[in-house]
Amino acid sequence: MLRQAQHNGLAPSTADIAIEAHDLVKDFGDKRAVDGVSLSVPAGRIYGILGPNGAGKTTTLRMLLGIIDPSSGTRRLLGRDRPLEAASEVGYLPEERGLYPAMTAREAIAFMGALRGLPLGEGRRRATAMLAERGLVDWTNRPIRTLSKGMAQTVQLLGTLVHDPKLIVLDEPFSGLDAINQEKLEEQIRARAAAGVTVIFSTHVIAHAERLCERIAIIAAGKVAFEGAVDEARGTLRPIVQLTTRAPDGPWRAALPANARRNGAVWTFELPPGGPEPLLKALIDGGAGIETLSIERPGLHDAFVAIAGEAAARDLSSSQQETA
């Protein structure tokens, strides 16, 4: 219904909002970690919080979940002003994975379910089934300390999902996973969203946000630089035109915007507001002799640079390199 409403250009109603935050501020001593974050996560969608390391993503998620209180501002989680009241409907995978090393995989999953109100017996039953589904049946009764890092992460993810939450919050879920497991996780996120579950995750890897999210918030230096649909983010930039011509000069040059750049024989410029047809007509009429012409929609990375600035983009790149 929400999807249809958005496709029809209608704004989602309050009941369809899974998370809402207004002017969240968090100070740690003299340092302001989060500075006036406002965002709105529609129910049943995949929402990404994108930003470099230290931008305030984890602190924002912690405030949204009620793990820490904001210094000021308000938030609502699944319709509750006190986020912990909705704890049984929420699954949370923190950035720093935490499991009791002596617990078995099955007990760890069941315990995480029990924390969210799932009876321990039912949690054990579901844990056994979930581990079997993933071909990890041999690891059911092994202590966490004997598992590989990837397996322990899988166990923690299963613990996040064991109670069938309506809202899944994942803080940097892809960090530490190899490419295959990243792909598997992406599939799981899509499958949950398809089943109507709201998924919000933080990442500093633009590709994940671009592939998965319908809406994003770009956070830099504790502030939300952009919040909205991924297409809207891309829409903040004009499409990029790349052109090569046979005629080096002529009246067709008047059709190019003033900030058009030339690199060898290739001209690069933003598509003028009139769109491609007037541009093409002006080039043809001006005798450009078009050899190649491509119009590319800007990627999320370009949008990020435009929205958050070069400095934030550099931070994001270095965050990605650190993770890699």
């Binding site: 912690r62 820490i68 209180d69 000021s72 501002g73 009241e85 499991l99 090393p101 924390l115």
Partner: protein, 415 residues
């Protein structure tokens, strides 16, 4: 804080902590813990006593005739019998020589045997030359032995006829004071041990990053209460095991009737044990809450040690006050120790051994419960603020004084 979900969540946390602790190797060591001081005490006590007997037994040279020697030796044997383990003087006898002065000099300076002094003049005109403190224990013992030896044979007098009764007020009072002190010491040691274990668990959880998983799912108050009560349950299990083992050991190893011969505390054994459990629970919860609240700030064992040191030292002082007041619970110090919340469990446990009235205990339990509620709430709030560095920074009193104008509602709203 909504009570029911918090209690349910505290139960989940507590159950995990309890089972994880009880089904671990560390718990076995915890159960065997009391054996170590007993064994070490016996071992080193025996060795120490032996060394002390060997090293400290004073040796005195006696220059005298056969008759004096016989009487001195008889008196020494009688005195040694009542010294109850204290080293008795050892006499080395020498016949009088022509040059007594030279013999005495040789004995005082020679090393075979090395003596602390020389006794001459027999029992009639005893004279001692040596390096003893005239008022010290050896000199006093020597006087007693010589005094005994001076009593002519047949004039020692009749020995006192002793008829033993089971109890006297004096003996019962002394035994009850001993019970009070022993109970306090046990309570103190257990409380400190458990509070330390509680902190170690918290630090382990912080280093495992489990704390964030917990804090995202349940109120931080529930984590606090769950941990606190899990450790209490674990300790009560330990106490039950120790008590059963002690009763079994006394029943099977000691003389029959040893248990019934123990003087009952003023409240009787069932009442005393009940009070001991209640006061242990209060004592532990009060100090454990303080430890947990302060310890939430620490992230390493070293930080824990630094932070818990002042609390431990304060607790030692509190215990010392309660212990000093134990024998006189109605004195000023006794009443102060009973009223001050942190020393109240110790003071009241001592009273349970010495005073048969119940109403002071009912009053004390209500008083301690009130303070427990206050301290739990304060410590839980501090824990909540510290454990994940949560909550707004509290302005200093100076800045609060300066900042008189009200802040906008939106800026202060905290869901």
């Amino acid at each position: 804080m909504n009570a029911l979900p918090t209690i349910r969540a505290a139960f989940v946390i507590g159950r995990r902590d309890f089972t994880a602790t009880v089904f671990s190797k560390a718990f076995l060591f915890f159960l065997l813990g009391p054996l170590f001081p007993i064994v070490i005490g016996l071992l080193f006590g025996g060795i120490g006593a032996n060394i002390a007997t060997q090293a400290e037994r004073p040796r005195i040279a006696v220059i005298g005739y056969e008759n004096d020697i016989r009487r001195l030796e008889g008196a020494r044997a009688r005195v040694a019998g009542i010294l109850d383990g204290q080293p008795a003087i050892e006499f080395v006898y020498y016949q009088p020589a022509a040059d007594e002065s030279a013999l005495r000099q040789r004995l005082l300076t020679g090393s075979r045997p090395a003596v602390v002094g020389v006794l001459t003049g027999g029992t009639f005109l005893p004279k001692f030359i040596g390096s003893l403190d005239p008022e010290g224990p050896t000199a006093r013992q020597l006087r007693l032995i010589v005094g005994q030896a001076q009593v002519p044979p047949g004039l020692e007098g009749q020995p006192i006829a002793v008829t033993q009764v089971k109890r006297t007020a004096g003996r019962t009072s002394a035994a009850r004071t001993l019970t009070a002190h022993a109970g306090q010491a046990l309570l103190f040691l257990l409380t400190l041990l458990l509070a330390g274990m509680l902190l170690s668990q918290l630090i382990e959880e912080k280093s495992n990053k489990v704390i964030e998983v917990l804090a995202a799912a349940v109120p931080v108050d529930a984590i606090f209460l769950g941990k606190l009560f899990a450790m209490l349950a674990m300790s009560l299990l330990g106490i039950a095991v120790w008590a059963s083992a002690a009763v079994a050991a006394v029943t099977f190893l000691a003389d029959p009737g040893t248990l019934s011969a123990l003087p009952a505390p003023a409240l009787g054994w069932p009442g005393f044990v009940l009070m001991a459990i209640i006061y242990f629970a209060f004592g532990y919860l009060l100090i454990g809450a303080a430890f947990l609240g302060v310890g939430a700030q620490a992230s390493t064992v070293r930080e824990v040690q630094t932070l818990s040191m002042p609390i431990t030292m304060s607790q030692v002082v509190i215990f010392a006050i309660a212990a000093a007041a134990a024998s006189n619970p109605d004195g000023t110090a006794g009443i102060f120790a009973a009223v001050f919340p942190l020393s109240s469990p110790y003071a009241m446990l001592a009273r349970a051994a010495l005073d048969g009235r119940w109403w002071p205990h009912l009053l004390a339990i209500a008083w301690q419960a009130l303070w427990l509620a206050v301290i739990l709430r304060l410590a839980a709030a501090y824990f909540r603020r510290s454990v994940l560095k949560s909550g707004p920074k509290r302005p200093s009193w100076l800045s609060r004084l300066r900042k008189r104008e009200p802040r906008p509602a939106a800026a202060t709203a905290r869901p």
